[in-house]
């Protein structure tokens, strides 16, 4: 008993000592500011700002990591020192609570990163009219009519299209090398849900590939989850077994890329490079860089100007980026082809959803009513085809292209 007592006592003393020691030097760490904010910039308007960020998961998710990195970069670039990152906020009332707590703590602008946060951010925007709420990937800002609630997305279909060109050139190289015949140029795609964002993504990717490899076809399978490593791996494997010679995916785990690396099938990635894990099969990756949007919105608050209800990042704003072309795997001349396409997209001579490049049930479309204004009955409400192309991300920032075009086979549509 005596020994135990002595142990407790000594532990308590160590504890007290340490506590006193660090208390003197530590200063106030309890003001809610993140410790890794940038130095300097004290004199600018940004120094007085407080910014809050809400993330669905933490940095272990590639999706959230992409946002977290952008948040830190934007704050550092602008000289915002007082910002709070709230991670692991579920898509329920917890999101409202997190937003309300951030507003209580004096945040001037609050961002959320996941689609399911939207309704709760709107609720918070109604309750805190003096705070700006910005929601990435949401669809309701343009119909909600709130001054302080905003959506943002990027024209990621352009990035997908460019990645598709890389895929098409790889297919051509495989045909030229005699590895496959032109008829066997079948692409596989692992999607999460039959959500417009995914449909828009795989269709633009496919159109990019077919623009350089006319015989290309595609099969798509869905996992019913944004992050399910096993399902994504199995989905990719199923596509490979079906005869797909190149795989891409729209889901957040490493499931599909690792399945490709194991099988030796080229892979076009999303949300960041997977070259370190898949050096022999990784081709290129497209992703959205959220830094420009964060900088735009924070600057608007600092200067007292209005933030767009719907903000669409583009190649020009630096929001749509391609990362790390793997020259060991990609075909010759790929970089040049990308550069040409980027120039054509930027000067308006090339449109991703050019109606002359695809058909639906064998017919070329001249009109299509898209479901732009979100409602429970999915009512089509906006004419999206004009001037010979489908106007994606123009009537709202989040994608609404949901056509099932010819050449793409959906293996399942359960989700």
């Amino acid at each position: 008993m005596k020994k135990l007592f002595a142990l407790v006592l000594s532990l308590a003393m160590i504890f007290a000592l340490v506590a006193c020691g660090t208390n003197n030097s530590g200063g106030s760490t309890n003001n809610g500011a993140a410790n890794d904010g940038g130095e300097g910039g004290e004199t600018s308007a940004f120094a007085d700002l407080k910014v809050g960020f809400i993330f669905l998961h933490d940095e272990n998710s590639t999706y959230d990591l992409n946002f977290i990195n952008a948040a830190k970069a934007a704050c550092e670039n602008l000289g915002v020192t007082d910002y709070v990152l709230k991670t692991n906020v579920p898509e329920g009332q917890e999101c409202y609570d997190a937003a309300a707590e951030l507003a209580d703590d004096g945040c001037d602008i609050i961002f959320a990163d996941s689609f399911g946060h939207e309704d709760f951010m709107i609720q918070a925007a109604k309750d805190f009219p003096d705070v700006q709420f910005c929601h990435s990937t949401g669809t309701k800002a343009h119909t909600e009519g709130l001054d302080n609630y905003h959506n943002a997305f990027a024209s990621i279909y352009e990035g997908r299209y460019l990645a598709g060109i890389v895929a098409g050139m790889k297919l051509n190289a495989m045909i030229d090398a005699g590895e496959i015949t032109a008829d066997q140029a079948k692409i596989g795609y692992v999607g999460a849900f039959t959500y417009a964002e995914v449909v828009s993504g795989y269709t633009s990717f496919f159109l990019g590939a077919r623009s350089v490899c006319p015989s290309a076809t595609m099969e798509v399978t869905f996992t019913g989850s944004w992050y399910d490593e096993t399902a994504e791996k199995e989905g990719a494997q199923k596509l490979i077994d079906n005869g797909c010679v190149l795989i891409s995916q729209h889901a957040d785990s490493m499931g599909a890329p690792t399945a490709c690396e194991t099988a030796g099938v080229p892979n076009v990635s999303y949300n960041g490079s997977t070259i370190s894990a898949c050096p022999n099969t990784y081709l290129i990756s497209s992703r959205i860089d959220w830094t420009p949007y964060y900088e735009y919105a924070i600057t608007a608050v600092a200067e007292g100007t209005a933030i767009d209800a719907d903000w669409t990042g583009t190649l020009a704003t630096g929001s749509v980026v391609l990362t790390d072309l793997n020259t060991d795997v990609a075909a010759e001349g790929t970089q040049e082809a990308i550069d040409t396409a980027i120039a054509a997209l930027e000067d308006g001579s090339l449109h991703v959803f050019d109606t002359s490049t695809f058909t639906v049930n064998g017919e070329t479309l001249t009109s299509y009513m898209a479901d732009v204004d979100t409602d429970p009955d999915y009512t089509p409400d906006t004419e999206a085809i004009a001037d010979g192309y489908f106007h994606e991300s123009e009537y709202r920032s989040a994608p609404y292209f949901d056509l099932r075009i010819d050449g793409i086979t959906l293996l399942d549509e359960a989700y």
């Binding site: 660090t22 809610g32 692991n88 329920g92 309300a100 707590e101 417009a196 019913g224 979100t374």
Partner: protein, 363 residues
């Protein structure tokens, strides 16, 4: 070594006064905090005092934080109350997660399908009935099979969780907005049909409901004939049937009550708090409730404190992760350490460690 008598031996305590028991618990918490402080220091170099201050701030720092903590406490306590009668009967119900979720699913169904057919009051009435019935059904099925064919209730209730999750996942796809999103979003956000009424603020309703429930469950378990029957069945089913208690009936009745209370918690979660349904809306509380109930020795009043402790820790922990830029897992480590000590100290309350005389001399 084997031949030597061991230096320590363990004996069961018979008459530990209550203050000594609480003294041991207090010491355990203190020790846990010290170990946490040391771990924090070694791993992160942060000042432990400011970590503790942040934990406290996260749970009670502002009026809103306090309200949210109280609301979280209410939900966890409510689910813990729900599983308690079954546990007292030695019926290992680990299906609270599914029972709450199915109650939430029933609530959601009423909110979505009846919104344009009935008045707000009628919708809420349907929600209450439907959620309680759904929860009760999820409790009834394993109990019925247990009573009739002596199936294993642990596996049965566990499997019922998965059925509830899959059903919820299915209907979320059916009701998703917009198409393909896999999310329902806030239900009736503009009309607020089927939203349980607010009293004073949006947090108080669940707190009041659970407060009433706590008192009712305390009386039910310790003062009513049913409660006595539950205790007897828990002690020994044979004694119970010898004493003329219809064991099968008690098992089924108790599990129906257990499930019904879980269903009610589903109603509060969906109709009163979230106004949406996700498969993770219960967030593991169906399992945490097991711990809350056990730590409190099935005493509803003591459960207030055990659930407060857990909610306090998890709320504070998430504050740490955002304030210090630490990963969320770090807060799980701290919670784990504290729980280890709290659960471990029960050993010292139940048993006494004796030192042999000879060993004492040596020391």
């Amino acid at each position: 070594m084997n031949k030597q008598q061991k230096r320590f031996y363990i004996s069961k305590r018979t008459d530990l006064p209550w203050y000594a028991a609480w003294g041991i618990r207090g010491a355990a918490i203190l020790l846990a905090l010290i170990v946490c402080a040391v771990v924090t220091m070694l791993m992160t170099g942060e000042n432990p005092i400011s970590i503790y201050a942040t934990i406290f701030y996260g749970a009670f720092g502002t009026a809103r934080r306090t309200w949210i903590t109280a609301q979280e406490l209410a939900i966890l306590l409510g689910i813990s109350l729900a599983v308690t009668p079954a546990f007292k009967m030695r019926f290992w119900n680990i299906g609270a997660e599914g029972q709450v979720l199915i109650g939430g699913l029933a609530t959601t169904a009423c909110m979505i399908c009846l919104a344009d057919k009935l008045s707000n009051g009628m919708v809420i009435l349907c929600m209450i009935v439907a959620s309680i019935l759904a929860g009760a059904l999820w409790g009834f099925l394993p109990a019925f099979f247990k009573a009739k064919w002596n199936t294993n209730e642990t596996l049965f209730t566990l499997m019922m969780n998965y059925i509830a999750t899959q059903l919820a996942a299915y209907y979320i796809i059916v009701w998703e907005v917009p198409k393909g999103a896999g999310k329902i979003g806030i239900i009736n956000q503009s009309t607020e049909i089927g939203w349980l009424p607010e009293i004073v603020n949006q947090y108080l309703l669940s707190i009041v409901v659970v407060a009433v429930l706590t008192g009712a469950m305390y009386i039910y378990l310790s003062k009513s004939k049913h409660g006595y029957e539950i205790a007897v069945v828990g002690e020994s089913q044979r004694t119970a049937s010898y004493a003329g208690i219809k064991v099968e009936r008690v098992i089924i009745r108790t599990m129906v009550i257990s499930g019904a209370v879980c269903g009610l918690m589903g109603l509060l979660l969906v109709g009163g708090i979230n106004h949406t349904l996700t498969t993770t809306v219960v967030d593991g509380r169906g399992f945490t409730a097991v711990m809350v109930s056990w730590l409190a020795k099935f005493n509803p009043i003591a459960m207030i404190f055990t659930s407060l402790l857990l909610v306090f820790l998890s709320r504070g922990a998430s504050e740490i992760s955002s304030d210090f830029g630490l990963n969320h897992s770090f807060s799980d480590i701290l919670t784990g350490i504290i729980l280890f000590f709290i659960i471990g100290c029960e050993f010292f309350i139940t048993y006494k460690i004796n030192l042999r005389k000879s060993a004492e001399k040596e020391a």
